[in-house]
Every structure is written in C-alpha cells, then in structure tokens.
C-alpha cells in the first residue's frame, strides 16, 4: 500500500482540472502451486500494477487506464480520459452531473492468522504431494490434482473530493479434484476448498481439510461411476450450500443487477425479468426467502469498507419474507433508475471501469439442520457441488447440473445417483422454497469467475447459504 500511496501523492500534485476525478490504483500478487498425478506443475508467480483515471468534465465522463504508473503515464491516461469525456458530453446516455462523488476515507485489511510465507515452498509441495497420494485410490482414478493458490489485491482509491480508501484483500485457495473413469463413463469430484473460497491466509488449508478430504473426494468419484442415473421425474429437491451458491447467484443475484434492468447488459450478459415496478411489492419467493447484500460478513469474498467508487458498504435486505425490496447497483444506476441500491459498483482490475456487480449476496438462515430438511421429503433428491450452469438472458429459465446426487425416500437418505440435474424458472422456483437450514448449517462460500460487462470483467462474488428444500422440481440424469 505504501507504493500505491506514493503514486497517489505524486498524482495529487498534478491533479487534473475538471469537475471531478478519481484515481484507482491496483496492485495484485499471485502465487500458484499445484501437484498433478504426483508431478509438480510449473509454479506461477505473477504481479499486476496499474491505474485507472476517471474524469468528469464538461458534462461528460471518460476513463483512461494504464500500466504506466509514472507521472508521465498517468498524465497520458488523464488526457485519454478527458478526450472520451468530451465525446461522452456530446453522445452520452446521461448527464455527467449524476456521476457519484465520494469523500470517504476508510481502510480495510483481511484479518490473517497464518501468513502465506509462514510455510516454505517445499513444505507446501510436500502437503500437495501427500494429498495426491491420498487421491489415487485405485487405477480407475485417471487424473488427480491438488493445489494451493494465493492472491493479494491492494487497491487505493483517491478522489477529487478528498476521498481516500485503501483496501487489501488476501485469499488462499486450496483445492482437490479426482477424475474417475470406467468404460465411457467419467465422473469428477472436487473438494477441500475447490468451490469454497473465502478471504484469509494459510489457515484456510486447515479450515477446508485439504489432506483429510482427499480420500472422500476420490471415493465418491469412484462410487458415482457405478451409481444409477438420477431419475427423470418431478421430485422434491434439497440443494446443499455448494449448489445453493450458484442457484442464488444466477437466479437472484444477476436478475437484481440494476445495470441489467437499465439495459446496459442486453447485448452480452443479458437483461432481467425483474422490472423497476416490482420493487416493494413482487413476491419473489416463499415467506422463507430472505436475501441480503452484506459486505460485513467476516472473511466472505467481497467484504470490505466501500465499493470501487468509494460508496460506503452497508448491509441491505434485497428480499425480505419473499418480497422483493431493493436492487443491486451503485449510486449512478440508482440515480438513473430512481431506485435505492447497494454499494456494489466494482471493477475486475485496474484496466476495467466499475459496473454494477454482486458483492456478498446471502440467503439468510432459517431453522433446523439438514436432517430436519431430509425428514420432510417423501420422494426426493439431494444435490451437491455445481458442475454445470445455464440460464436465459432474462435470468429466468435455468438448468443446473451437480457432481453428486443422493436419493431421499421416506425422510431418509438412500444411495448415490450420477449426473444429477434440475431445471426451472426463477420467477416460480423460489416460491417452491419449503425449508431453509438454520444458522448452524450456513456456509460462507462464493464464486471466483462471475463474468459480465463490455469490455468483459470476471470478479469474485461472495455467497452464504444454508441447505434448502424445494418442492416439486423437474430433475433428471445423464445419457443421450
């Protein structure tokens, strides 16, 4: 952060003459270690450093982004931003006066218990080798891998109104995969953090039980090979948090994004079945459905103090008791739509402008444990770990596939089924929500590849959810 502060301080001495400006500096460091089939893959170290200057001038807005963070480089980026602001002033979609201004001063840093460097590279590789040995249960395991990645993102936002927000996010991502094959049937299982990301340091390795999970992951992949296909039927469905993450993401998070509702994304990521008139009255789901935008959950992927335009982060209800309350979108979209919103204008890096994104979008817990949900099911399927996702451009008709299914009969879990999938329509699916697990079943997870925007941007998004029970869902299995 010291380096970014120096760059910002130099920029302040040559701050552009305009109505408002922001400078967003981003420095990222990556480290990736992986062992596949007992062989150490090439280690990868990466560092990223760049700046985005945003200018409001003469009724227009423009940005200039550069990896040249010298004074001359930032001056050049500022000139480019000014050029585009001039064009925007003539051809812009809205008046630049509504562009949000921030004078917020705040700091955030991920609390870490064990620093990435507290364990040597050799010890990390030894750990991954041990996990590899535990994954190779028999010759039907045809591919297997264990990895450990570290990402640190330091961002400093300074503004023409005196705003200064520094945030440092740390992530350690462990993970495992086992691939089993017999004949023409191949099954994959992931585990130990592969789809369970949070902020934090090396303590994440113990939290996700990297080594301990390996035999279970491989064993389930093998068992799935000989399991029957998931039945094609209308049945009750229990989704574990590992799949609820995607269900919330695709059919609640994305439809509530204000820029979709305003039409910005219609050419690429799509629009939304949600319209402005629905807020405050539309029944999105059953009374059990409570969804929040919550940047305050400790260690969730997008927890922090502000968004990337300096809007202070605050917990808000999006859906309460099943009724739609509030969309996802920063002050600019809020002004365009005349609706309330959230502090969720975010960019994927220094080279992309902030747009409306999800932050931490969480399904609030209900009551009881997983066994209580299962006990309510006469004929159903439980599904675990997303493997496939697809939804229409209005975020309505969806289809998901999972890695593992398990039959439920007369309130009890039965055997595994392979290639489980289900499909439905967002506008009605959430109304079939019949059970929501309690606080003790809540898992804080997220996705690391949420794609959207033109130019394209991929960001982390946090999701916390308990297991949930849905009535009468169309489920199916594999085969042609």
């Amino acid at each position: 952060m010291e380096r970014l502060s120096e760059i910002a301080d130099r920029f302040l001495t040559q701050a552009p003459a305009c109505d408002y400006w922001t400078l967003r500096l981003v420095e990222e460091d990556f480290d990736h270690l992986e062992v596949r089939q007992g062989v150490v893959e090439p280690s990868r170290l990466a560092s990223v450093l760049g700046a985005m200057v945003t200018l409001v001038k003469g009724g227009g807005i423009g940005y200039g982004a550069t990896s040249d963070i010298s004074p001359a480089g930032l001056r050049a980026a500022t000139r480019r931003a000014a050029d585009w602001a001039e064009v925007h002033s003539r051809l812009g979609l809205f008046d630049a006066d509504i562009f949000p201004r921030s004078s917020t001063r705040a700091d955030y840093r991920t609390p870490i218990q064990e620093a990435w460097v507290s364990m040597s590279v050799s010890d990390k590789l030894d750990l991954l080798q041990a996990a590899n040995r535990a994954l190779r249960l028999d010759e039907r395991i045809v591919d297997w891998s264990a990895w450990l990645s570290r990402r640190r993102v330091a961002q400093l936002l300074v503004t023409g109104d005196g705003g200064r927000v520094s945030q440092v996010w740390d992530f350690v991502h462990p993970g495992l995969v086992a691939v089993a094959n017999a004949g023409s049937q191949t099954q994959r299982r992931h585990g130990a953090g592969a789809d369970w990301a949070q902020q934090g340091g090396l303590e994440r390795v113990a939290a996700v039980r990297l080594l301990e999970e390996a035999p279970r992951v491989a064993s389930e992949a093998l068992t799935l090979l000989d399991s029957p296909e998931c039945p094609q039927d209308i049945r009750d469905l229990i989704l574990l948090p590992s799949q609820m993450v995607l269900q919330v993401h695709e059919s609640i998070g994305h439809p509530l994004e204000l820029d979709r509702i305003l039409g910005d994304e219609r050419n690429y990521a799509g629009t939304s079945f949600v319209t402005p008139g629905m807020f405050g009255r539309y029944r999105y789901g059953s009374e059990l459905l409570n969804v929040t935008f919550d940047p305050t959950v400790p260690l969730e992927l997008v927890s922090g103090v502000t968004d990337d335009e300096g809007t202070p982060a605050r917990r808000e209800y999006l859906i309460r008791d099943g009724i739609l309350e509030r969309p996802l979108g920063g002050p600019l979209s809020q002004a365009r739509a005349g609706l309330p919103g959230t502090a969720s204008t975010r960019a994927s890096g220094w080279d992309r402008p902030p747009i409306d994104r999800m932050g931490n979008i969480n399904l609030e817990p209900g009551e009881g444990n997983l066994a209580d949900l299962i006990a309510q099911v006469e004929r159903g399927v439980l599904m675990d770990t997303n493997r496939s996702w697809s939804i229409d451009d209005s975020r309505n008709k969806f289809q998901f596939g999972c890695e593992l299914g398990r039959l439920i009969e007369d309130g009890e879990l039965r055997g595994l089924v392979r290639n489980p999938g289900y499909r439905g329509i967002s506008a009605t699916f959430w109304r079939s929500l019949h059970g929501v697990g309690g606080l003790e079943t809540l898992e804080v997870r997220g996705v690391r590849n949420c794609g959207k925007g033109e130019p394209n941007q991929s960001v982390y998004v946090g999701h916390a959810a308990p297991p949930c029970l849905f009535r009468d869902v169309s489920v199916f299995g594999g085969g042609e």
């Binding site: 980026a77 691939v179 023409s184 050419n267 209005s394 290639n419």
Partner: protein
C-alpha cells in the same frame, strides 16, 4: 509495447542469465479504446494501455513461471523484469525436476502484422450513432493495437501484431425481442457499417410481429453460423485437447473410442493458416497451418501443447488445448434456400449460455437468444419466445444433421476477458431434423 522494445528488453534479461539458465520471455500488449453503448448513446467510454511480460526460467530439468505488468518506459521495465527474474531464481531452488518440461531448442524468428491502422474510435462511434438514429442499439466498440511476442535465450524472436476493430451490437424492440449484429475486421468502412445497421431495421420489423410460444418437444431447425459458434465454443472446452482425451475427460470420449460419430460430412479443423492469431507457442514452437480434429465425422487428432506433448509423447501443434481458429467444413446447402428446405420449424439465429448437460454423452443445454423465428412452409411467420434446448451433439452433428451450408461465415471473437481476443471461427449453418427443447 512494440517488437523492438520487447526484443531489447529480452536481450537485456538474457545478458543477466548465469550458468545453464535458459529464459523464455513472452509479451502481451494492448492499446485499446472501448465504448459501451445503450439506447444508441454512450454508456461508458475509455482507453486502456497495458503490457504484460511473462517469464519462464529454466535450469536443467526444472522450471518456474512468472509475469508482471510493464509500463513501456525501458529503464523502469528492466528493473521490474529483473525483480521478477530474481524471484523466479529464488523459487527455482525449491522445485523438483519437471518431467514434462519442453521447449523449442532451435533458434527461430517470425514477424506478422494484420491490419495497418485501427480507425479513429470517436469518429466511428459518431457515424454509428448517426446511422442507428431511432434504434435501441446496445453493444461494445473495441479497437486498437494488439501485440504478442516470444523471445528466448535460445534465440527465438517471434512477433505477431494487429490493428483491428470489433463492433458487437444488438438492436432491441422490447424485453428480449432483439436482433444481433456484428462488424469487425482490419479495414473500417463506414458504408459497410451503415448497410448492416439498415439490415437490422428489417430484422426489427420481423421482431415486431407477435411472438410465438412453443411447447417443449423436438423441432426441425436451422442453426445459423452464430448459433453453431456457441456449440463449437462449448465443444472446445475439453473436446480437442490431448490431456482431456488421455484422461478420459473429453466430451468426445465415445467418439474417440469409436462408439459414436458425427455425420460423415463433418470435418473440424484448427485453421491457423487464417493467420489471425500468433503462429508460435510460448515455448517457441511454430504452429502448423492446419490440424485436423474431426474427419469424416470421426475422431482424427488433438491439439497438443508443449506440456501435454511431452507427457504423452506427441508432437506439439498448438499453443494451448483450446482452438483459436476453429473451422467446420462447409456442405452443399445454399444459404438462400435454407428457409425452403427447413419448410416448417425453427430458424435459430443465436444460442446463449451453453453448458454441458452430460459431457459423457456430449449432451449440451443452452438457450435461444436474438433473432429466432418460427417458419412455416418456407416463410418466417413470427419470432419465438426464448426456449431451452438439451440435446447431444452426436444427434445435432450426427444422425439428425441434414446438411451444412455451402457458405461459411468468419466470426471474430468479441471476448475481452484476458484482453482483446484474436480468436475466430469459420462456420457454416446447419439444418437438423430435430432439436430437443425442454423448457
């Protein structure tokens, strides 16, 4: 960053190598203008200047990789690159021998440029907004220079650069009633843009007809090249790379084992001869002009990157296992006759959000999107409300494939996740006797 600056930087790094160290340097640079449009007005506009250096440090049988952003200022960049090199040296001491390490041992040079000069983006946007007056146009303009290079202490000096534009847009009537347009290439011609915008006014006219809701079931259909491109994009996800084949993870596993096949007229190739992407790999290997992946409907070969090639004993023929210049052989159907041959069914202009429904059986799900119509007796009757399909490519490109069009369309990728993509696909349209719609 241009080729000279990159090669100079690489030479300076090579001069700092010690002992038996071998260094491969890679460069990705971009000077781009991006303009987002909504309602035929500018939503967001800006400029991006970026340069990233990738280093692979090799000593004997060990290797480590690293990358960092560069500024374009030579002395500053040399300092950053030396810091990265130093970090890699530190890491190299801790990694074991890599049995799959491979790189080209022969010095080699190449240089290629596509396009002379990108158009002035502000001028182009001005003429677009004027041409589309009265239309609800949404999309993205991306233009500028892209450079990619590889240099090594072995003696490689490869460079590929282009100056291009990519205008990817759609025009909307209401809700999800919309038609899709694209104009991309290396020589901007505002008249071509105006013609394409005008053609979309006709498409919007068709969209104004009352939309038809169709029930799930199997429907006769024509898939335009843009729709087929979505299926090919998904198939490229594990369909052709050697590692996926050798570890039984490819969705074409049953084809590779001779249990299933596409129709005899289906041939799929990686057509590097198109020359739009760099013709070399990060390890300095040249890429052959053409790799046949599917021939006569059956499995033919894989894309082999350097690492997979070493692991499985195959010759390197690609920079990665995913195609960047895919081509599907044409057929004999005249595009102008497609409506008549379809007779009654679906004319599908685009698909969206495809994903594997069951990769074991090459089964894909996805949605119709943009310009999809119901056709009766060879005439477009009405637009169709979006529908989900779930079907196997062994059917759509196999036993239910009635024909491929004679004309192929070159589709330049508009993707910009990892910088502006140079990928492309050259595809015909396909006529199928049935596609299964499920929702």
């Amino acid at each position: 960053m241009n080729a000279d600056a990159f090669f100079t930087l690489a030479d300076r790094l090579n001069a700092r190598l010690t002992g038996a160290e071998v260094l491969f340097c890679g460069m990705s640079s971009e000077v781009s203008d991006f303009v987002r449009l909504n309602r035929n007005r500018i939503r967001q506009a800006g400029h991006v200047h970026s340069a990233a250096l990738a280093l692979t440090l090799i000593e004997g049988t060990r290797q480590v990789e690293g990358s960092c952003d560069l500024s374009g200022e030579p002395s500053h960049d040399l300092t950053r690159a030396q810091q990265l090199l130093s970090s890699l040296r530190g890491r190299l001491r801790h990694v074991p021998a890599d049995p799959y390490l491979d790189y080209c041992r022969e010095p080699d040079e190449s240089w290629r440029r596509c396009g002379d000069r990108a158009p002035d983006p502000a001028e182009a946007i001005g003429s677009l907004v004027q041409a589309a007056a009265g239309m609800d146009l949404v999309g993205i303009w991306a233009s500028g220079d892209i450079g990619e290079g590889v240099a090594s202490s072995v003696g490689h000096r490869h460079w590929h650069e282009s100056a291009s534009f990519n205008l990817d847009w759609s025009c909307h009537l209401e809700a999800d009633k919309a038609v899709k347009g694209a104009y991309s290439g290396f020589q901007w011609n505002p008249e071509v843009m105006r013609q394409r915008v005008e053609a979309m006014r006709d498409g919007i006219g068709l969209m104004a007809r009352p939309a038809r809701t169709i029930e799930p079931g199997r429907y006769r259909a024509y898939l335009a090249p843009s729709a087929l491109n979505e299926l090919m994009d998904l198939l490229s996800w594990g369909g052709f790379d050697l590692k996926s084949h050798r570890t039984s993870q490819t969705p074409l596993l049953r084809m590779a084992r001779g249990e299933r096949a596409f129709a005899p007229g289906v041939g799929i190739h990686e057509e590097h001869e198109r020359g739009l992407v760099a013709g070399f790999t990060p390890e300095g290997f040249r890429i052959p002009p053409r790799v046949t992946l599917v021939e006569g409907g059956g499995f033919s070969g894989c894309l082999v990157d350097a690492r997979a090639g070493k692991e499985y004993g195959e010759v390197v023929n690609a920079a990665s296992g995913s195609p960047s210049s895919l081509g599907l052989d044409n057929g004999t159907l005249e595009t102008g006759n497609v409506l008549g041959l379809l007779d009654t069914g679906l004319w599908i202009g685009n698909l969206w959000y495809c994903n594997w429904s069951d990769p074991n059986d090459c089964r894909v799900t996805g949605m119709t999107r943009f310009g999809t119509y119901w056709v009766e007796r060879g005439e477009i009757v009405s637009p169709v409300r979006v529908m989900r399909f779930d079907d196997s490519l062994y059917h759509l490109l196999g036993d239910r494939l009635e024909g491929l069009t004679r004309e192929r369309e070159l589709i330049l990728s508009a993707q910009t996740y990892e910088g502006r993509s140079t990928d492309s696909a050259l595809l015909p349209g396909i006529l199928v006797s049935g596609i299964d719609l499920t929702l």
